[in-house]
Symmetry: C2
Subunit: 160 residues, 2 copies
Amino acid sequence: MKIKVDRQDKAILALLQADASLSVAEVAEKVGVSKSACWRRMQKLEEAGVIRERVTLLNQDKVNLPLTVYVSVRTNQHNDRWAERFREVVEGVPEVLEVYRMSGDLDYLIKAVVTDMPGYDRLYKELIKADLFDVSSSFVMESMKQTTQLPLRYLQEKTQ
Amino acid sequence: MKIKVDRQDKAILALLQADASLSVAEVAEKVGVSKSACWRRMQKLEEAGVIRERVTLLNQDKVNLPLTVYVSVRTNQHNDRWAERFREVVEGVPEVLEVYRMSGDLDYLIKAVVTDMPGYDRLYKELIKADLFDVSSSFVMESMKQTTQLPLRYLQEKTQ
DNA sequence: TGTGAAAAGATTAGCAG
DNA sequence: CTGCTAATCTTTTCACA
């Protein structure tokens, strides 16, 4: 489905991306539309699937997960059964937050969070159950930028 | 500050991580505490900084950013001026969502979203303004897991 | 669209254990 | 202190101009 929005919709999305706890009235005021117009726009954006979900982000340190690690994985078994097994393993490990199949010479990229090095070691042992060929880990030393806000400039604008 | 929570707090956090739009009443009911008890717990968790923010996640495809790319960066200039310049560049590019300084042989890992290959090329040109030594990009072919929900099992539990 | 009213929810205060 | 109940205030939702 082709999505087209106008300037107001973009402004609404930008605000909601930054803060999901804004009330409809606050958003409406900032964007310069009436409360109910704003509410209807938000409904439409949700129905259209532009808005995926509203989530609460927790502080990694405060939940005792200060270490973030990226694990590059290569396999020599390029078959469906292996892929299915791999999917099951990563799905079952809650420390694994993201898993991507990648282009280029590494096959998969995993982002995970752990408490400390022993925690990483446990994670590692858990992961290699999936029968991985080559694993290389890199730890996050410092987070210089981290946002969930997508740029909206590439979203086609409705010309009125 | 040391954070200690009990079973109820964990349950609240788990629910809010999954869905920030739940009402206090809904959370209270699921957790099995009263509405206002639940509200006060939520306040405390926010004050304690366990809850960082509530955000709205948009659908990447619907905002015309279907391509995700990880850019590994190495530099030969390990000085503060270069680091500051690098920080400014990535901060100023909205397609760049995450930037980490890493352990190991790569220096920085960048996660970015773009519309298509020409979009990636524009991003690349933007990034190399920071005077990078070695850049290697890998594209996300398939997202197999993607969550913002942190596991809560490592959060110290208050023994009552 | 926007207005406004009814329903649902959030927040505060007072009280009990 | 923590939690419950009730009163009040805010926000959401929806009919209608």
